[in-house]
């Protein structure tokens, strides 16, 4: 198994600092397993050993720093009870879930999560994505590639959901854009309300003086409709008169 580089003893730091660093590097080597996790994932014993290693080494360095004359017997103090208890509770919870720590991040688990996120409507993606992870004969995906693909599945599932939400949000807008009557209501409704408001507050003379306001509002709303139709690729039906004319022309 490859190991991470150890701290350089001559790096200028003081002795205790180096010991702290060594302790964390030792623990880190075991915890993150640069050469890959043990086959079958992390066991409770593995995790206990790693935590104990980190704790004991740092504690040892602290003791030596505070008391440089400490005897060798004090170099490996036992772990405090509360620390052991909390650690065991966490490890026990992990095992109750039926998995050790590492497999939660495996490609299979991430794919399962992605399928869950994608929702019932896209349950067919489960087979498709599992076939993807299986690769093809002679070109199976490595574990690293599988994990990369599985992270992509999660992102794909999130995008599906976002697109579904956007589709739902566009439905009322599409209804307005597709219907000439609703589009006209969308444009003329606020314009007429504005006209009434002007007449009510300023009288008919006000209508002449402030005519630019309803005109600008109408132009803006008409622009919104035209832009929306272009953006959504929506075409309203031909007006009745034009349709009748074209039908007549065809006969």
């Amino acid at each position: 198994m490859k190991t991470m580089p150890t701290a350089d003893p001559g790096d200028g730091g003081n002795w205790a600092t180096r010991k702290f660093r060594e302790g964390f590097i030792k623990g880190g080597n075991s915890l993150f397993a640069v050469g890959g996790p043990p086959s079958g994932g992390w066991t409770r014993e593995d995790m206990s050993r790693v935590i104990e290693e980190i704790w004991a080494t740092t504690r040892w360095a602290t003791t030596r720093k505070l008391s440089p004359t400490a005897k060798p017997s004090e170099e490996r103090p036992s772990l405090p009870g509360w620390f052991v208890l909390i650690t065991k509770i966490f490890l026990l919870l992990g095992f109750l879930a039926g998995r050790s720590v590492r497999p939660w991040l495996s490609a299979g688990s991430l794919t399962w999560l992605a399928i869950l996120l994608a929702g019932h409507k896209r349950s067919a993606m489960a087979d498709e994505w599992r076939a993807h992870l299986a690769g093809w004969p002679g070109a199976e995906l490595s574990r690293r590639d599988q994990a990369h693909a599985a992270r992509g599945f999660i992102w794909a599932a999130v995008r599906y959901r976002l697109e579904d939400a956007a589709g739902l949000a566009w439905r009322p807008a599409d209804a307005v854009l597709r219907s000439r009557i609703l589009s006209n209501l969308f444009v003329w409704g606020p314009v007429i309300v504005t006209l009434f408001a002007i007449v009510r507050h300023d009288g008919r003379f006000g209508l002449v003086a402030d005519v630019q306001d309803p005109v600008a509002l109408g132009a803006f709303l008409y622009g919104v409709i035209r832009t929306g139709r272009w953006w959504r690729g929506v075409k309203p039906p031909e007006p009745k008169a034009r349709r009748a004319r074209s039908d007549g022309g065809n006969r």
């Binding site: 489960a126 498709e128 992509g152 599945f153 794909a156 599906y160 439905r171 209804a175 597709r178 039906p237």
Partner: protein, 120 residues
């Protein structure tokens, strides 16, 4: 008076924007032989895009009716079946139009006299 806000709105096909991802996927689908059709992993490998990009794009193309899918038949026993994709006639037409437009733009760029407002 007519209200045309019925079912057609709810089932309307989304507009496809011809991004580089979509064009690359359509390139692969167009050039896939019928006896060896494209599927998810192959599309990712050939286009170089990740799964988080390719699958949502395939979903959009399916909704727009540009591509269609079918499952591997018979399903193999040792692994899940693959889902194959192929282009529909609508997709083929749209793709050919897009390619022609792209070629036109490229040609216009290489020959300035073809650009809008360019001098002969």
């Amino acid at each position: 008076m007519e209200f045309d806000i019925g079912y057609s709105v709810l089932m309307s096909a989304p507009k496809i924007r011809l991004t580089a991802v979509i064009m690359d996927i359509l390139d692969v689908l167009t050039n896939s032989p019928s006896d060896d059709p494209a599927w998810g992993l192959r599309l990712c490998e050939v286009t170089g895009y990740g799964t988080g990009t390719v699958y949502p794009a395939l979903d959009r193309l399916m909704k727009a009716g540009w591509i269609t899918d079918y499952w591997e038949d018979p399903p193999p026993e040792d692994r899940p079946p693959r889902r194959f994709y192929e282009m529909t006639s609508t997709g083929r037409e749209a793709y050919q139009e897009a390619v022609a437009a792209r070629e036109g733009r490229r040609a216009a760029w290489l020959r300035p006299e073809l650009r809008p407002g360019g001098t002969a």
